[in-house]
């Protein structure tokens, strides 16, 4: 049995918001019996892009994570819905716009905040995967269709194939510890959830400071080397995918003709942009 899944590459999302607007366009002003009642023009973000910056000027990046109904296989909203929320054979979760009337509790049931309360209609609402369009033969839902970078893909494959793909590409789901088994997967989610440590290596020669390209930078934890990189043309280096709250680290720097150096830092909840590391001639 083939089922629908979404795969979202956080590294490829540049926050154009086309997916957000496509969902707005599809559901505002449109009543789609059996699938969805109209979404209010303003306020609701059935597709909600979360953004997070890491680092600080001048070494900084921002990650954008489109979040949306996860169409969980063990969906808390289905459990709470008592028939008002159903799972289709193709994996899509639908909140029945008739049966769910007045069920504000369903908004609370979703641990992802993906269900929105429509005050005017007294109705909990979430993105129904554009099931009405897929049922008419569309090959992909609208957020996928409108994405310019290909950051969002819709895959209709078996659960086994999806599991294999997730392993192969290191795909993650949001808050897997909840055991909800989402059908929306993320690639490069570390850009949002993990930290980096970076800086620049400079060298002083005859009183002139220059960026040192090709310097060896090692990252050590508890006295053991865990990663190493080479600086680029601007002397910059960066270690990524570090755990928040992972504590003390040491960075060692060596470059031919210069005296080596070492710097210590600690990671709490923020990425670390280190002060320039200036090497002296050996």
């Amino acid at each position: 049995m083939k089922k629908w899944n979404l795969v979202i590459d956080v590294a490829e999302c540049h926050n154009c918001n086309n997916c957000f607007l496509a969902v707005k366009d599809e559901y505002t002003g449109n009543d789609i019996p059996g699938y969805a009642a109209p979404q209010p023009l303003h306020g609701h973000k059935w597709l909600n892009i979360l953004s997070k910056e890491r680092g600080r000027t001048p070494m900084v990046d921002a990650a954008h994570v489109p979040t949306i109904c996860n169409h969980c296989d063990d969906a808390p909203c289905i459990a709470a819905g008592k028939g008002a929320v159903t799972k289709r054979a193709d994996g899509i979760v639908l909140i029945d716009p008739e049966a769910a009337k007045g069920r504000k509790d369903l908004v609370e049931a979703c641990p992802y905040g993906a269900i929105w309360w429509n005050d005017e209609l007294s109705l909990p609402q979430a993105w129904p995967f554009d099931a009405h369009l897929l049922d008419r033969g569309w090959s992909a839902p609208r957020p996928v269709q409108s994405c310019p970078t290909g950051a969002m893909q819709a895959l209709k494959i078996s659960d086994e194939d999806m599991a294999a793909l997730a392993r192969e590409q290191n795909l993650e789901t949001l808050r897997p510890e909840l055991g909800t088994r989402p059908r929306v997967y993320y690639k490069n989610l570390y850009r949002y959830t993990k930290l980096f440590a970076g800086g620049a290596v400079l060298g002083i020669k005859r009183g002139v400071i220059d960026c040192l390209a090709g310097a060896q930078v090692g990252l050590r934890k508890d006295g053991k080397p865990i990663a190493s990189v080479e600086t680029d043309a601007f002397g910059d280096f960066k270690f990524d995918r570090l755990e928040p709250g992972s504590g003390d680290y040491e960075i060692t720097v060596s470059c031919d003709g210069y005296r080596p150096a070492a710097v210590r830092f600690a990671l709490a909840q923020e990425s670390a942009v280190l002060a320039d590391i200036v090497l002296e001639l050996a």
Binding site: C16, D25, G43, S51, T57, V60, A62, T149, F234
Partner: protein, 1000 residues
């Protein structure tokens, strides 16, 4: 004989069509009247009597006929009638075409051998009936599942499919091509093959279209200001404050036409000024350069001269070094895509955010191409005070200079290249002049100040070692320089006090590296795709149906293919757009023109008022909001309240901007509610071959997807309705409806060779097959120049007289070479801020202006917006407002976003999404604070071009909550002898704002 036969057939044809068409029956029943079609000498003719919805007809001349269509001879009449009705016999078009001379209809009309006589209202009604017969049976749109019809339309940000059910738009989507559409091009580079997806991308401002069409801010019926009485007290001082009362179309049009006539009679030549935006619709018919200009030319108006506000530094600066006046000083856009993929090792993005500004109208067409560049390992550097979305997405080195100081950074790069021999000496020797002088300046031989990396650091704040590293990378790698969204022009840095210096520095750097050699060029993969550029379809600058052979490119191409009546504005008086307030308030101003014919056009100062002309007393405003794009915007409000303006007319789609200052409002519909025809991003002469940004050339029939909302009418219809009251209807409309004009434009293009009218009308689009043969693909820009050959890229510019030597040999400069010391500026010698040699002059508003900087220690930059386009799609109750990075909803109001560095926020006690007041001596704007490390400390980033202007009081000091940050930007021109805007040189202070304290 043939004439009489055709006339004999007409009543029968009309009756048959009326039997099948409710629309025709309604038209026939609307008026009782008699029309006739006759030969001038009365020898032949036929009359048509419409009474009670029934048609009677007879041969001969009818002296009681209210409308007479008259031909000089029967033979002429027969040919013209066949021509005019050919749309009915489309299947026979190939057979008929050889017998029809396209010029004949127009020649006959011009010589009064073909005339329509009678009251305008009835004449138009008669042609409407005939046209309804012609177009009856023309099927539009494709049936889709669920009872929907899929139409096609076009936006400023891409073509769209529009799904309609029961007269209502269900959804608007990007276009995905079908099985019958052509295969895309393939580029081979570094052992890989690259080909774009078979679809058209779409910008956010296009994707939000449905919310704009059904917006609560739509103007749905004509309105008159309550305290404005054309026959009594006009109360100009309450414009922007007083309310409106709904009136009928007849009343509105009668007032407008009467005022146009009164103003011309009472004040004389030039008393009407026309103000228009550029981009609130899309098309070749209902566009500002088409129907609008045709009508304005017909009534005569003082023209508002647009400064090249996206090109400023390139136009007023860069072009003096290397020509390209026809591109406003931007670089050639050919072949760069293939060259970048095959040869480039690095791209330096300098004031360049293509993922936000999308080239020009190009949506995300280049996004996939930049992904290819990334996959190929091409290095990226981004120079911008803000880590812009392109930089964040592509990655690479981010270098953040203090706003307005980039020219100093550029000189220091040149310093490193000269000191370390990292430039192309051979190119400098053979392809340039004046380098010795530039070298002397850079090394400090003339002023004792070497423009070293250390020197620039005091200006830019960029550490010297970073400049050295950048210069060494750039000097040793084949590098593309991307400036602005398209990569070949534009960029926020060119709209500042140092904008001309920056653009000049950019071309000088590229000359030092050998501009045009493999892998060394301008671009960001945004231009130069191998689409077919010969397939002819007019771009918007060709003026559509304007007939304006002076102000548009109509004469260059389309007039020759689609003969139509020419139009000409006889008023030569003009006002620079950014000095409109001064012209109205002070009664005088001056400016420098946007003239792309030569390097010297821009030096020809003009003054307002023009000798013998009337000062302007009426403003005819057409579309869009100018507050958001006018520096020191509050001036405009003051001008609109001036008693010097007796009548302010506004023809707009939405209730925004200057609409709230109008005496009379004419509600127009969007281009989704009327017919038009156009190509995606085709700008015609404004940006020649602009569609080479696209992965696919997409030509569309812009279907009338739904009926106009409320009582709104198409712009074409409004102009026609006004024309009826000015005796201009036959001249303005030539007896055609918008859909018939669409077919005329279709016939004028190469489309008939590729797709039948009926199929095109139904399907709504045509994708032009790309160039498949390598031999037909475009040569790379500037390669010809680098190699000292004759120009071989397909742009008919510079004009022949612009060459010093042989035609097509060398550049447009006096020497024909790249000139580090510009001859044109040397000859002009009248602008101390633009010396012939590009030297660093600190900005007249910035960190070097100590007294002002002490009071206002933050620099405001206001780049082109990301989610809206000019003022299109912002405000207006659009869903774009809900984008978290566009506006923030606080206490029921959508506030514009101002980005600030957390350090600056901390110093002022400002937290995320606090309301803050941005202010200086020019005014105050309330924004929502967004704290970001992506911005250099000391800089505030708020996009320009808000569509809303909402001062919360009636004085200039009252803060605006619309997000109109141009209230704060200086009206001062970039240099004294230009009309260039410089909004990115702006000092402000910010503070937390408490609505309670100010009574809101």
């Amino acid at each position: 004989m043939l004439f009489s036969l055709i006339l004999w057939c007409l009543p029968a044809a009309l009756r048959i069509h009326a039997w099948r068409s409710e629309n025709i029956r309604a038209l026939m029943a609307a008026r009782d009247f008699t029309a006739q079609i006759v030969v001038k000498d009365g020898s032949r003719g036929r009359w048509f009597r419409f009474a009670g919805g029934r048609l009677t007809s007879g041969a001969g001349v009818n002296n009681d006929a209210e409308v007479t269509v008259r031909f000089k001879t029967a033979a002429l009449g027969a040919r013209i009638l066949i021509h005019l009705t050919s749309g009915m016999f489309h299947f026979a078009w190939p057979l008929l075409k050889p017998f029809l001379e396209p010029m004949e209809v127009i020649s006959a009309a011009k010589n009064f051998a073909f005339e329509v006589l009678g009251p305008d209202e009835l004449s138009v009604h008669f042609t409407d009936i005939m046209n309804a017969m012609l177009t009856h049976g023309w099927q539009q749109g494709m049936p889709m599942p669920g009872g929907e019809i899929r139409y096609v339309n076009q936006t400023n940000g891409g073509p769209v499919f529009v799904y309609v059910k029961d007269g209502k738009i269900v959804r608007i989507t990007p276009m995905e091509f079908g099985a019958g559409d052509p295969k895309p091009w393939v580029i081979e580079a570094r052992g890989r093959k690259f080909s774009p997806p078979r679809r058209a991308t779409l910008s956010p401002h296009g994707l939000a279209s449905k919310s704009l069409i059904y917006s609560e801010k739509r103007l749905l019926y004509p309105m008159k200001r309550v305290d404005w009485d054309p026959n009594g007290e006009r109360n100009p001082q309450t414009r922007g404050k007083s309310g409106y009362v709904r009136i009928s179309w007849d009343e509105a049009l009668d007032i407008a036409a009467a005022e146009i006539k009164r103003i011309r009679h009472e004040h004389g030549h030039g008393a009407i000024v026309n103000s228009h935006g550029s981009h609130h619709t899309w098309g070749n018919i209902g566009y500002y350069l088409s129907a609008h200009i045709r009508f304005m030319n017909a009534i005569g108006y003082t023209r508002m001269v647009l400064n090249p506000d996206s090109w400023e530094g390139w136009y007023w600066g860069a072009m003096h070094h290397y020509g390209n006046s026809m591109r406003m000083g931007g670089a050639e856009p050919y072949g760069q895509l293939e060259d970048t993929l095959q040869n480039a090792e690095m791209i330096v993005f300098w004031s360049s955010d293509p993922e936000s500004t999308c080239g020009s109208y190009a949506a995300f067409e280049a996004t996939v191409r930049r992904q290819w560049a990334k996959q190929l390992g091409i290095k990226m550097v981004h120079i911008d005070p803000y880590l812009n979305p392109t930089a964040n997405w592509l990655g690479g080195k981010w270098i953040a200079p203090i706003p307005g100081t980039s020219p100093a950074l550029a000189h220091a790069i040149a310093y490193v290249w000269i000191s370390e021999g990292l430039y192309d000496r051979d190119y400098i020797e053979t392809r340039t002049t004046g380098f010795d002088k530039y070298r002397a300046y850079v090394l400090g031989e003339d002023d004792g100040t070497p423009k070293s990396p250390e020197w620039q650091a005091q200006e830019t704040g960029v550490a010297p070692q970073i400049v050295r590293a950048l210069a060494r990378e750039w000097g040793t790698k084949k590098t593309y320089l991307s400036c602005g969204g398209k990569g070949v022009a534009f960029g926020g840095a060119n709209r500042s006090a140092t904008g001309a210096q920056w653009a000049r520095a950019m071309v000088c750097l590229m000359a030092m590296q050998g501009l045009g050699k493999p892998g060394i060029n301008f671009g960001n993969l945004g231009t130069g795709t191998p689409v077919d550029l010969e397939f002819y379809f007019p771009g918007y600058a060709e003026g559509g149906i304007s007939g304006d052979v002076e102000g548009t490119a109509d004469a260059v191409q389309n007039y020759q293919r689609m003969p139509h009546l020419i139009s000409m504005n006889t008023v030569t008086q003009k006002i620079p757009r950014l000095r409109l307030p001064e012209a109205i308030l002070d009664g005088k101003t001056e400016g420098y023109p946007t003239d792309s014919r030569a390097l010297e056009g821009q030096f020809q100062k003009f003054s307002y008022p023009s000798p013998g002309h009337a000062p302007v007393r009426m403003m005819y405003k057409y579309g869009s909001s100018h507050f958001g794009t006018t520096m020191e915007s509050n001036r405009l409000a003051e001008a609109l309240r001036s008693e010097n303006l007796e009548f302010v007319l506004n023809q707009s789609i939405w209730n925004e901007g200057e609409v709230k200052f109008a005496d009379l409002i004419l509600p127009a519909c969007t281009n989704f509610e009327r017919a038009d025809i156009s190509e995606w991003a085709a700008s015609g002469g404004y940006v020649h071959h602009n569609h080479n940004q696209m992965n696919h050339r997409v030509i569309t029939l812009q279907h009338k997807c739904i009926e106009p909302l409320g009582e709104s009418r198409s712009d074409y219809q409004i102009f026609l309705d006004l024309s009826k009251r000015l005796g201009l209807a036959s001249y303005f409309g030539e007896g055609k409806t918008e859909l018939i004009w669409c077919r005329e434009i279709y016939l004028s293009s190469d489309l008939p060779k590729a797709i039948s009218w009926r199929k095109f009308l139904r399907k709504g689009y045509y994708v032009v097959p790309p160039e498949t043969k390598a031999a037909n693909r475009r040569k790379t820009s500037w390669r010809w120049f680098a190699e000292g050959r004759k120009k071989d890229v397909p742009e008919p510019a510079p004009l022949p007289a612009e060459y010093g030597g042989n035609y097509l040999e060398g550049l447009q400069t006096q020497s024909g070479l790249f000139e580090f010391e510009a001859s044109s500026l040397k000859r002009y010698n009248d602008d101390p801020e633009r010396p012939p040699l590009n030297t660093y002059i600190p900005a007249w508003e910035g960190r070097r202006t100590a007294a002002l900087y002490a009071r206002y220690p933050l620099q405001l930059i206001s780049p082109h917006p990301r989610y809206s386009f000019h003022t299109q799609s912002d405000g207006k109750d659009s869903t774009v407002n809900d984008i978290s990075e566009h506006r923030v909803l606080i206490d029921g109001h959508y506030y514009w976003i101002a980005r600030i560095n957390p350090a600056d926020a901390r110093a002022r006690g400002i937290a995320q999404h606090d309301l803050i007041k941005l202010y200086n001596d020019r005014g105050a704007v309330i924004c929502a604070a967004v704290l970001t490390e992506r911005l250099l400390p000391g800089v505030v980033h708020a996009y320009g071009s808000s569509a809303e202007y909402q001062p919360i009081g009636n004085t200039n000091a009252a803060p605006d909550i619309g997000g109109c940050v141009n209230i704060l930007t200086p009206k001062r021109h970039m240099t004294e002898k230009t009309s260039a805007s410089a909004p990115n040189s702006c000092l402000i202070e910010i503070e937390k704002w408490d609505p309670e304290k100010t009574g809101r």
